[in-house]
Every structure is written in C-alpha cells, then in structure tokens.
Symmetry: C2
Subunit: 341 residues, 2 copies
C-alpha cells in the first residue's frame, strides 16, 4: 500500500494572492475575524475554501511562542484508574481548545531526557510519582507551568496539587464497620509505602479505631502494592496469623478482587463472616460478588480539575495551591449491609 505525497498545502501567501489582499489580512481573519471588513471577510473565506487552506500549526506556534498543547506525564498506562482520569483531562483540553500530548516515563529512571517540556507543551500534568524531587525543582526554576495529581510537591516548591479527600472518608468507612457491623479485627491492606493517599487513609483508619477506644494492632496494617495478586497473598497471610480477622479494608478496589478470591478459598463467607471494603469505587466494583462497599473517588473530576488549574496557571500565572476533591461512602453488600440486588 503506497502513499505518495501530493501537491504541498496552500500557505497564507497563496490565500492572500488569490484573495487579492495582504497576508496580514489573512492572519487577522484567522485570529480576529471581527477586525476585518465584512466584504474582505467574504473574499478571504472563498479563497481559503477553494484552496482548502489549513493554517500551519508549527508556524503559528513559532510566531506566537506557545504551543496550545498541554502534556500528561505518567509512569505507565494501567488500571481502571487511568481511563476516567484521562477522560476528565481530555474533556477539558478539548473544551478549551488545547491539544493533549501523552507520554510515559520509566519510573524516575533516566532523569535527563523528558519527552515533554517547554519545547512542545505550554504546561504539564504530572501523575503520581513520575518525577524525582530534583526534576521537579529544576522545572520549577524555569517557571514552566505544572500541576501534580495525587501527590504533593516537596515542601518548598509552589506546584499546585489536585487530589482527593482520603482521611475523613476512611474514618467514616471504618466507623461504619465498627458501629453498624460490630467489626473489631479489621485488617488494612494499606498499599505502597510511599503512596501519599495511603498515608492519609491510614490516618483515617487509625483515627476511627482510636475514637472507638480501640488500639491499632500493627499486625493488621499490611503494606503492599495496589494489585490483585498482592491482595490475595496478603489476605492468606493475614488470616494465617490472625484467623480472628473479621473485616478487610483494602487501599483500592483492585486489591479487593484478590481479597475476595482468597476469602473464598479460605471458606470465609463475605460478608457474613468477614466484611470487605475498598477505596476508589472503580467501574467493576458494583459487579463484584458481593458488590463492594467502598469510597467513591471522583477520578474523572481529578483529571478535569487538574486540567482547569493548569490552563489557568498558563493563562494567568495563578492557580489554587491545593484542590481537595470530596469523596463519598458507597454502601453496597460486602460490608454486611443489605444492598438492593
């Protein structure tokens, strides 16, 4: 299958010639139609149409010193998490007439050559642990607009953050397990060591237990990745050492899948014998069996809000230092409640 180049595209000069006006007028028509006289406008329109003229973006970017593009930097493209976030980002970029450039970087490897930067984007949305503190610091020095998602910047760097409310929601969830379902031995698969969301959730977990006069048994706080397999293994290990466990709270819904599988193998009936609750409310959560009680994280909004903040930062030089989006308890069946089937 062959694709041979055709006649080169018409340029602004061609349009000007055909319309019998100057290139400046064409440019004005493009950027500010109302300053061009009604009559001229018509001629220009016709000329553009008959030449099928499409302005050259590179030339406009060069002359304007901006790219009208924002970048999204990720470590990888995985998980249910990613899709709604991207949808939120893409929705706003589309609305605001920005283009969206996406790139992954190996997790903090090869710190030099970033594929996205001032040379091709007006600003950057940075997801989670994508960049090292050092890189963030350098990029901040150049005043390149950036917004972080689900990660606070190093203390002295004024980079805006968009993330979700973790602690209060978790406290509410654990309190529900204690008050309504009488759970006492609540395992917590907290997630990765350095994940900030996990840290806040752990605070909520501890606060809930302490507030009920309990004391946190450190055996119940298990570290690990957000990952089905790890959830599966951690659950088996937890019940091996603490068979009295009567509830498992996982740092995300993804992990809950592994937990449910492990409990099934152990012959523990959920939720009769053991409650299972998660965090995120991913799209599959209502379809698990039993349907998962969890905290709804507004992931799509995180994406859209981060994009709005970034565009504001680009345009006005200002943004909210921190945006904390509200989360919400979603009661289903896996905690022990009677979820309408």
């Amino acid at each position: 299958m062959t694709n041979t180049p055709t006649t080169p595209n018409a340029t602004i000069r061609d349009v000007a010639r055909l319309a019998g006006v100057s290139v400046a007028t064409i440019s004005r028509y493009l950027n500010n139609p109302e300053v061009v006289s009604e009559e001229t406008r018509k001629v220009v329109q016709d000329a553009m149409a008959s030449l099928k003229y499409v302005p050259n973006t590179a030339a406009r970017n060069l002359a304007n010193r901006r790219t009208n593009t924002i970048g999204l930097l990720l470590t990888d493209i995985r998980s249910d998490f990613f899709t709604p976030m991207l949808r939120g980002i893409e929705g706003v970029t589309n609305e605001e007439n920005y283009r969206l450039l996406i790139s992954t970087v190996g997790n903090r490897l090869n710190p030099q050559a970033l594929p996205l930067g001032p040379e091709n984007t007006d600003g950057l949305i940075i997801f989670l642990d994508t960049l090292s503190e050092d890189q963030l610091r350098k990029m901040t020095e150049t005043h390149y607009p950036m917004v972080l998602i689900h990660q606070s910047p190093p203390a002295d760097l004024p980079i805006p953050v968009v993330t979700i409310e973790n602690k209060a929601a978790t406290q509410r969830l654990i309190t529900h397990l204690i008050d309504v379902h009488g759970r006492r031995a609540i395992g917590f698969l907290r997630g990765p060591e350095d994940n900030q969301d996990s840290g806040w959730r752990e605070q909520g977990y501890r606060a809930a237990i302490t507030a009920h006069g309990g004391q946190v048994n450190e055996d119940f706080v298990c570290y690990g990745g957000f990952d089905r397999t790890q959830g599966y293994k951690a659950t088996l290990a937890l019940f091996a050492s603490h068979p009295e466990t009567d509830a498992v709270f996982t740092g995300d819904d993804e992990t809950a899948i592994g937990v449910l599988k492990a409990l099934q193998e152990l012959g523990k009936v959920v939720p009769d014998e053991v409650s299972v609750v998660g965090f995120d409310d991913q799209i599959l959560s209502p379809f698990l069996s039993p349907p998962l009680t969890t905290i709804h994280a507004p992931t799509e909004q995180v994406g859209s809000e981060a994009t709005r903040q970034l565009i504001r930062l680009i345009r006005t030089g200002e943004a909210d230092p921190i945006t904390l989006l509200p989360t919400e308890l979603v009661i289903r069946r896996s905690c022990g409640c009677n979820f309408p089937a």
Copy 2:
C-alpha cells in the same frame, strides 16, 4: 499560587555566539553531530550546557515540515479496551521517538473541524467509527498517512487496517460449547449492528452451528451495544421467550457481566445449567464468578502494530493493507470446563 515568566530561553543564535561559531554549525551538531569536528563539538556542548539550551520544537517542525508527532483519534475514552490499546500505541511512539497527541471527536458529529490533522501530526491512528466515509475519503485525497483500527475502510480507499481475527476463533468457541458441553440453544448477544468485529463473529457463530447440522434460530441472535446493562436486559428477554436457552455467547466480556447478573437473578446456575462465554479476555474476565471462558484479543498488540504500520507509512510511504492479529481460545470455568481454581 503565582508563576511569573522568567528570562526567555536561549536560542540557537545565543549558543552560536557563545561558542564562537555559526548557527549552521549548532544546527549540524543537533542533527548530525558526526559531521562537526571533535573540537568544535566540545565547544558547542559547553555553550549549550551553560545556556541550558533547549531547541524550539515549533521552529524545527516549521523548518523540517514535519511534526514528529502522531495522533490518535477516538470517539470516547471508556472501557477496559482502551487502556491496553493506548499502552501499545504509546510504547511504540516512545520507542520511535514520536510524540502522541490524543483527541476525541463526538461520534461523527461536526464533520468539519478535526482537532488532529496534517497541521499538527505526521499521521493518524483512527479508532473504530470515529470518522465518516466522507471524511476518510477527503483525508485520503490529501495523502495524509492514516491507519484504521478495528474497522475496514470503504472498499476503494487504500487505508491500512489493523484488527483481529474474529471468525475462526468464534467458530472454535461455539464448537467447544456444542461438542464438549452439548449445548444446543446458544444465545448470541452480537453487539452493535454496524460493528465489523460483530459481523465476523456472527459468521463464526453461524458457521459453527451449521457445521454441526444445526440451523440458526434468528431469535437467538440479539443486537445491542457492548454494555453491561444491555447484556443484563437482553438476557432477561431471551430467557423470557426462550427458557430452553442453555448457553449465552456475548460479543464482549463487558456484556458478560450483565449476563451473569441476569442469570443469577433468574436462578440459573452458571455453568451447570447455562454456559456463558465472551470475547476479548479483558483484565477482569478471570475474576468474574465463575471465571469467564472467552477469546483472548491481543488489544495491546493491535495498538503497537497499528503504530508501527503508521510510522512505516510516514517514513516510506508504504504499509501492509491489512494486518490481522491472531486470537486465542481461553478456557476457564463459565463454559462448564473444570478451570483450576
């Protein structure tokens, strides 16, 4: 939070001045270091480093008449399907040093203004039903490189396609239901009317039944979207009119979730009374209960292969007219086999 612009970036001219050479030499160093003398190279390196020089992409693009960027055009960002595909695409663009621009367009609405085109990308990957035949035709006329995913072009348009093998795999799957599990009344939730994959799967379904001396009962072929809710409703309707149904084949795994839910409510035990099988092998499929027998679709490879074809088309003007990636039967529990738990 404020972000004030800083001193403008160094240009090639600044570097040339500091290094005491011409801008042409700097440009050569950038594009073809080996043609610059060892000695000059050192001086240039130092100058670039001390000025923290970053070449301006817009200027390079303008001078080169290319963007080093490829575009991905979608109707929406949804489903488990999207993530692996994007991962495949992004992997190759990264490898080949292309940037990736992503945009959605409302499904064939507003046919004029595409956000992606020759003005900002060297070529385009087009997913499914994103563009009308008319648009494809116009863009083909300009010899703009494009590759279609999961959709053939109109007959006379030479646009390369990357998709998967649907028919043979489906025939194998249905044959398995008939031969191994003795199923005879196999409902088929085929998916959207105009989806080409669905069309091929339907051919496989019919071929399998016919090959076994059966006759296809048209009541068993149900149209609908790829969607849990529709799967749920279609299943209820199917069993209402045909309670003898002993298997359901859904056009994708997503829909199978709704099918399983409906069967549970109907009190039909899967797979003892009814087999359920899907297509795609999405990440959640092994975690459904029971684990889903399905056809594995190499979605990530579809993404990477489409990207390779596009880059080849851009660079050489040639690409394979059609790339059909192999699919594979994945036996789990929901068909009736004994899947190792």
